[in-house]
């Protein structure tokens, strides 16, 4: 018997992994080479959803690309809007009124809750727990999306922020509703955690899988919860202190090992911190203007909104990592150059490193734990 086994010839198998059907909302492919069940090479292939967002933005006015930013990371339109608005405000120096700052922070943190809740649900899908955790997640997400809809007019494509403030004030009863959601959220998280955190299957599938070392994470420009799960204390809300984040008390949770389990758990912890920020913001929000007196664009119409010559890089801590906008103005109404620094695209750089030597089934989970959205990866 033993002699026969030694004589067996083996060869590497190359396969394409990933949702490739045109009806799925994200199309992504991993070109994987396998030795048995072990991954020996992995190359991500992307661009299926590419529509040259940057070119479209360069041919329109500054304000006209605001609704397009919704479609980058379509789970987090509020934070995309915020990043773009902050970059343009940095370029032009438009002031944002106090109340608008609070509204923005509240919307951004609610978005973080939405993103992380849904991500945890989908991560369980990737593990084979089909749709039960996802439905719990969607139940909670829908409550927040109702608030978004009441205020901005849309559940997901909010198009809510403007240069110098936001499009409209909170809808009537928003603050009471939001307070109720935030007060109940920790209870939902407890319920979620009871199902998941110490679940034996989840632990054995996630612990020590797809480890990302601290050094490699920094070296490869990984940002967001991925980076913090590897134990690097870097949160742009703290580092840059943009908007009014320095006013709020919250902690930055850190992981130890940088495996999939840490990446799952860091999101639960971040949601708890977001709830703290929301509590404080909803308590302290003052009355006042929701948009700067200079108007939505700081000019009479978008066509006459012409920032002075120059370039600017504005960045925020989006739920997936550092979302940045690099804008070059040549003094006309259209941006001369408009570049998006998408967190999930750059976080994919180290996908191969994390998957090498792992089993094929685990690559799906590792990919899920990066938290990518193809609208943002492909742009």
């Amino acid at each position: 018997m033993e002699e026969e086994n030694i004589a067996l010839e083996t060869q590497l198998l190359e396969i394409n992994l990933g949702p490739q059907h045109p009806s799925t909302h994200g199309v992504f492919r991993m070109n994987v080479t396998l030795d048995g069940e072990t991954v020996v090479r992995l190359k991500p292939v992307m661009g299926y959803l590419h529509r040259n967002h940057e070119k479209i933005a360069e041919s329109g006015t500054y304000l006209s690309s605001m609704p397009f930013t919704d479609r980058l990371d379509y789970f987090c339109s509020m934070t995309n809007n915020l990043a773009y608005a902050l970059a343009v405000e940095k370029l032009t120096g438009i002031e944002v009124p106090e109340r608008a700052q609070y509204i923005r922070v509240i919307m951004a943190e609610l978005t973080r809750l939405v993103n992380h809740t849904v991500l945890v649900g989908f991560l369980m899908n990737d593990l084979g727990a089909f749709f039960t955790p996802t439905l719990y997640a969607f139940r909670e997400r829908e409550k927040i999306l109702d608030l978004f809809e009441a205020t901005s007019g849309a559940r997901m494509m909010c198009n809510y922020m403007r240069f110098g403030g936001v499009k409209a004030d909170f809808s009537p009863g928003f603050i009471e509703k939001a307070r109720e959601i935030v007060a109940n959220y920790p209870r939902f998280l407890d319920e979620f955690e009871k199902l998941l955190t110490e679940n034996e299957i989840l632990m054995s599938r996630c612990q020590n899988v797809g480890i990302l070392s601290k050094e490699l994470a920094v070296q490869a420009s990984v940002t967001g919860p991925m980076l913090r799960a590897s134990g690097v204390d870097y949160d742009i809300r703290k580092v840059d202190g943009y908007s009014i984040y320095p006013r709020f008390k919250f902690r930055v949770p850190l992981g130890e090992k940088g495996d999939v389990y840490d990446r799952y758990y860091i999101r639960i912890l971040e949601m708890r911190e977001s709830c703290k920020i929301l509590e404080q913001a909803l308590r302290d929000i003052p009355e006042g203007e929701f948009i700067s007196k200079q108007g939505a664009t700081g000019a009479k119409s978008p066509r006459t909104f012409k920032p002075a010559k120059g370039d600017v890089y504005g960045r925020i801590e989006a739920p997936k990592g550092e979302l940045g906008f690099y804008l070059v103005s040549d003094g006309t109404a259209n941006p001369y150059r408009y570049h998006v620094r998408p967190p999930s695209f750059i976080n994919l750089t180290i996908l191969e490193d994390m998957c090498l030597g792992q089993k094929i089934a685990d690559t799906i989970v590792i990919l899920g734990s990066i938290d990518i959205v193809l609208g943002e990866v492909d742009r």
Binding site: M46, H50, V218, S221, Y313, Y326
Partner: protein
């Protein structure tokens, strides 16, 4: 973060013969100095630049410009901005990927969209457009094929 003049003084002191032009908050440097400057920023403990946040290209018609935004995660400082200008006929810039892994996909994207060739990049292929696509869509002289559609 130190003032830009101080960074310039420090760089000129440590790297003999380096040509730096401070332009607002950025340094304009020659491509032959890019790797030395980047390595110095990385290894000098007073900057400890370990994180290349954003790499992108801009087409200014007469020349192409590559813009790098560096931060330090260890010291929570930044940004230091470097700009490299190259002629369109000779759009070659040394790759930073061997120094900073985070530049890998971003340089591929700048190559794909603007057509800057990063020399020494381990895997310089198109990333968003398909292989075999002949143009660089974010150049200002690019004309889309299906304009009438």
């Amino acid at each position: 973060m130190e003032k830009i003049e101080e960074i310039q003084k420090n760089l000129e002191q440590h790297i003999p013969g380096v040509e730096l032009i401070a332009e607002r908050d950025a340094f304009l440097i020659d491509r032959k100095d890019l790797l030395t400057v980047a390595r110095h920023l990385k290894e000098n403990p007073s900057y400890a630049i370990d994180y290349v946040s954003c790499v992108t290209g801009v087409d200014y018609k007469e020349y192409l410009e590559c813009v790098y935004h560096f931060y330090s995660m260890a010291k929570k400082l930044g940004p230091i901005i470097l700009k490299v200008r190259v002629k369109k006929e000779d759009p070659k810039i040394p790759s930073l990927t061997p120094l900073f892994r985070g530049a890998e996909f971003q340089e591929r994207e700048a190559y794909d969209m603007i057509g800057i060739v990063f020399e020494g990049h381990p895997d310089l292929r198109r990333i968003l457009m398909w292989d075999g696509f002949a143009h660089f869509p974010l150049r200002k002289d690019y004309i889309p094929e299906d304009q009438d559609v």
